[in-house]
Symmetry: C2
Subunit: 186 residues, 2 copies
C-alpha cells in the first residue's frame, strides 16, 4: 500500500510566506508554507523549495534570502507567487502585485509592505527529494506591522491576519484564543 | 545588534503535534510545532527536536516515530507533553492523559485517539544547533477523524480543530475560509 498522495495536507493548515531572493533586475519570489524555525541557538530556519524553481536558483547564487510574513491583504500575492513560474513569467513580481525594497543585513530584497521580515544567509541546502531543504542562519528579524505584534506574547490574535494554507486555493486565518495549562492552576 | 530572541514566534501560529517513539514500558511523547512536510517524492517530513530530550533519545534508538495530529480536546495533552520532561516524569503519558496503541507499519506506537497519524522511519538527523533536525520517510498516513477530512480538500474547517501554537500557553484554532485566485477568474 502506497502512502496516500494527500498525506502532507494532514500537516496543514500552516502559515504561508513569501520567500525573496536575487538582486537588481533578477529578483524572484515564491510562496512557501513548508517553512519552520529549526533552532534558537544559533537562530536558524528551514524552507523546503522546489529544486527546479527560479527563486531557488537565485537563492543558490545569492546565498541569501528573506522570509516575509504577510497578512490577508496579500492573499492574492501569496496565490500568484505560488502558482506563476518565475522562469516563464518575467514580470512575476509585478503580476503578483509584490513590491520589494532593500533589506537591512542581506543584499537580497524584502517585501516592502510585509508584516515582518526574517533575513537569512544560506547555511546548508540538503537534497531531500524533488525539493531542497534550505536551512538559513537568521541574521535579522523585525516587525513592520508593530500594532499586531507584542514582544512578550507574539502575534496579536485578530490583528495578525496571517493566511494559513489549507489546500489548493483554500486558506484560513487564525481564529479564537485557546489558553492551555488550566490543569496546572488547579 | 543581535537577532531578537522572539524571532521564531514570527513564524507562529503553527500547528502543534504529538510526536511518539519508544516501545514497551519506555514510550516517550513530546509536543512539536516545528514540524513540516519537506518532500512529496519521496514522502518525507522534518521535525526539530531538542537533542537532550527523552523522546529524541528513544527515537534515535528505535529509528522510528509517529506524528499525531490531534484536535482541541487534546489541548492539555499538548501543553503537558510540551512542558513535562520525560527524563524526570516517568509516567508522563499518564500525567498528560495520552493513551497509545499499536501503529500499522512501525514498531513504535501512535496516539490512540489521534485525528490523524503519520508513521515515519528516521532517514537523517541533522545537528542544527541545540536541536536536531529529524527527517523521516513517511511509511504510512491515515485519518481517524474521517468526518473532519476530505481527500480532495484536506481538513474541513470548523470540524478539524487543530491547535495552532502562538506562544507560551496561547494557542489558536483555524478560523474562517479564505479563497484565493479571485483575480484569475475575472
Amino acid at each position: 500500500m502506497a502512502v496516500p498522495e494527500w498525506w502532507y495536507v494532514l500537516l496543514h493548515p500552516r502559515p504561508a510566506y513569501l520567500i525573496v531572493s536575487g538582486s537588481g533586475e533578477d529578483v524572484g519570489v515564491m510562496t512557501a508554507s513548508w517553512v519552520m524555525p529549526v533552532a534558537e541557538e544559533p537562530p536558524r530556519l528551514a524552507v523546503a523549495m522546489d529544486k527546479e524553481g527560479h527563486t531557488y536558483s537565485l537563492l543558490r547564487q545569492a546565498g541569501e534570502f528573506t522570509v516575509n510574513v504577510v497578512f490577508d491583504d496579500h492573499l492574492e500575492a501569496l496565490w500568484l507567487a505560488g502558482t506563476l513560474s518565475g522562469w516563464r513569467v518575467k514580470d512575476k513580481l509585478r503580476k503578483a502585485g509584490i513590491k520589494v525594497t532593500s533589506s537591512k543585513k542581506v543584499s537580497v530584497p524584502r517585501v516592502a509592505d510585509a508584516a515582518a521580515v526574517i533575513e537569512c544567509r544560506l547555511w546548508q541546502a540538503l537534497d531531500v527529494g524533488e525539493t531542497a531543504l534550505v536551512i538559513g542562519d537568521v541574521l535579522d528579524a523585525y516587525v513592520l506591522a508593530t500594532e499586531a505584534f507584542n514582544e512578550a506574547y507574539g502575534w496579536v490574535l485578530g490583528k495578525a491576519k496571517i493566511p494559513l494554507h489549507l489546500s489548493g486555493r483554500a486558506f484560513t486565518l487564525p481564529g479564537k484564543l485557546l489558553l492551555a495549562g488550566k490543569q496546572r492552576r488547579q
